[in-house]
């Protein structure tokens, strides 16, 4: 049984169609990527998977059960979410935030057990944040905060991790380290990964399969080599790019083109170039 099944999902938000007829299955241990232009419904899709929003039509099953019908606590033991960014109005330390990941396992009046602390410590080690465990969230850089949120998700010991543009504020070293870590967890511990990203090269490098969304529909679905092509990107994003092969991995490699790049004059035919 696939760990995650979406069957003909539609979602409207105030009369606006956000997702339409999305069908998708993700296998246990798969690293699944979601690409698509801004506003194509990627983040909403994540909200539907973890049951924060309910689909208007269609069915979602997490290990065979609709997340909207489960207790929140049970969903939280199964699915962890790494949001894009969170705001820190109150003074909270890094360790306090990572410990929050243990919430679905701790009883109402209980304190953190030795095991909870061990899990939290290894999540902080894995994300390279142990050094500033006692610092306040508001004093960290955007990239450091992002790693804290990833550590909190790992502390949940989930079977599925949902990432919403997890690397957008990370430098390339931490982009690679984060995705390496998540990929190794998916290979060794069977963690299923669903990651929204804007970075096609990262997606190409790490994802087993990719869905490319446009206006709430899955336009292309398949292995990176099948989805990340010049023709598909032109169709969905309306821009010309060069896709060739990564010299070492042979996976698709996307190179952007500006309108001033050689070979781009043809894009603005018959005097349609933008007038400044």
């Amino acid at each position: 049984m696939p760990i995650l099944e979406l069957e003909r999902i539609s979602f409207k938000y105030a009369e606006k169609r956000v997702l339409q007829d999305v069908t998708l299955t993700v296998a246990r241990g798969e690293f699944f990527g979601i690409l698509g232009p801004n506003g194509s419904g990627k983040s909403t899709l994540l909200n539907l998977i973890d049951g924060i929003r309910l689909p208007c039509e269609g069915e979602i099953r997490l290990k065979g059960v609709a997340p909207g019908k489960m207790q929140r606590r049970d969903v939280a033991r199964l699915v962890a979410v790494v949001p894009q960014e969170a705001s820190w109005v109150f003074p909270l330390t890094v360790e306090e935030v990572v410990l929050m990941g243990r919430t679905p396992y701790i009883g109402r009046l209980a304190f953190e057990s030795e095991r909870d602390l061990t899990v939290v410590r290894s999540a902080m080690e894995a994300t390279d944040i142990l050094l500033f465990a006692s610092r306040l969230m508001e004093t960290l850089s955007g990239g450091e905060r992002q790693r804290v949120l990833i550590a909190r998700a790992l502390a949940q010991e989930p079977e599925v991790i949902l990432l919403d543009e997890p690397t957008s504020s990370l430098d390339i070293a931490h982009q690679i380290r984060t995705f390496d870590l998540i990929r190794s967890l998916s290979r060794s511990a069977g963690l299923t990964v669903v990651s929204v990203t804007q970075d096609m090269n990262l997606a190409s490098l790490y994802c087993d399969r990719i869905a490319m969304l446009e206006e709430g529909r899955i336009h292309f679905l398949g292995r990176p080599g099948e989805v990340i092509t010049e023709a598909n990107i032109r169709e969905v994003y309306g821009v010309n790019v060069v896709v060739d092969h990564h010299p070492l991995t042979g996976l698709p490699r996307v190179s952007l083109l500006g309108s001033h790049s050689p070979g781009q004059e043809s894009r603005w035919e018959s005097g349609a170039a933008p007038q400044l």
């Binding site: 924060i52 207790q71 949001p83 705001s87 109005v89 109150f90 909270l92 330390t93 304190f111 610092r135």
Partner: protein
């Protein structure tokens, strides 16, 4: 700092609470002996020891002094402690639920709503029913926080500044209602109505104390049982859902319990502002944001804080008295300004 922070343990909670209990005891001892009638601390101790028939101690106080001590000062100090504790806990909960460090039962209009409820109870005679005044005060407080909640989320995204704006609007509306009720109230009732507007602890009675104790215990129990949930709610509702908190139910329970303790406090003491703003903030700075410690610490510190404020109110113009609400607003409003400037 390079070493991991010590996480919260039961021992730390006990230690901090013990420390604050000592503070509370010290402040209450000071308040007991402060006042226009000079009664020394030694005399008070001897009197208490004599009252419990401690061998070899005779009561040094005369009848008038004993009356001042036990019928005026003791109830008033107890009530100050209870009201301070109630308003502080309510402030902690409102701040966490609205994710706004400037929230407070007074600023949000909850105290105003509760006062309207209490005044309606007096004016209509419903106040003579058991739990009439605190019951309607609770209903008024709950109504205003639900109004604030609805208004601040009206644009979809719940924004910090919208919460305060909504509080101002609700507060203005309830103030107008209070003025309206005052102007239609007849002579003999007007005195008890005016009392609510000032925020005063002078009329502390046995029933008031009992009532506040019961409401405070019930409300605080619900809050403390949700202390960990409050921690998570600080990071936002969506995150709370993702970490397994049933947000809607939890929020409703907490709003009800915070309105309950506010309603009790307002029905016995009137509108005392800014306690619920200052106390949680000071405690958070001293001991951190974890509600398992923040809630009990605010309870104790808030009690000591209002006792101290009320003592100042009693002695600063002695033999005349200030309403304690004047004292808390005189230090609270500048504190609010300071917090606003810092968070801007």
């Amino acid at each position: 700092m390079t070493h991991p922070a010590p996480h919260l343990t039961l021992i730390r909670i006990f230690r901090v609470c013990l420390l604050l209990l000592v503070l509370l005891a010290g402040v209450s001892a000071l308040s007991l002996v402060m006042g226009p009638a000079p009664i020394g601390i030694a005399a008070v101790f001897k009197c208490i020891l004599a009252a419990v028939r401690f061998p070899g101690v005779s009561d040094p106080l005369n009848g008038a002094e004993r009356t001042i001590l036990f019928s005026i000062r003791v109830p008033r100090i107890l009530l100050a402690g209870l009201v301070g504790a109630a308003l502080s806990c309510a402030g902690v909960v409102f701040q966490a639920l609205l994710r706004n460090p400037l929230a407070d039962p007074y600023v949000l209009g909850v105290s105003g709503g509760a006062a309207v409820g209490a005044i309606i109870a007096i004016v209509t005679g419903l106040g003579s029913l058991p739990f009439g005044i605190p019951g309607l005060a609770f209903a008024g407080g709950l109504l205003s926080i639900l109004l604030v909640w609805g208004l601040s989320g009206a644009t979809g995204e719940r924004r910090t500044d919208h919460t305060l704006l909504a509080g101002i609007i609700v507060n203005a509306f309830f103030s107008a209602l209070i003025m309206f009720l005052v102007s239609i109230t007849s002579g003999e009732q007007i005195h008890s109505v005016i009392f609510w507007l000032m925020g005063d602890l002078a009329m502390a009675g046995e029933n008031d104390i009992l009532l506040t104790v019961v409401f405070l215990i019930a409300g605080f129990a619900v809050m403390f049982l949700h202390a960990r949930d409050l921690n998570i709610l600080l990071t936002g509702e969506e995150t709370a859902l993702q970490l397994g908190i049933p947000v809607k139910r939890t929020r409703m329970l907490l709003l009800i319990s915070a309105s309950l303790v506010t309603g009790a406090a307002v029905s016995v003491s009137g509108i005392i502002g800014f306690v619920g703003l200052m106390v949680p903030h000071i405690v958070r700075m001293l001991f951190g944001s974890d509600h398992r410690l923040l809630l009990p610490a605010s309870l104790l510190f808030g009690g000591a804080f209002l006792m101290a404020a009320d003592t100042i109110a009693r002695i600063v113009l002695a033999p005349a008295e200030l309403p304690v609400g004047v004292v808390t607003a005189l230090c609270g409003a500048p504190y609010f300004a300071y917090l606003m400037k810092r968070s801007a």
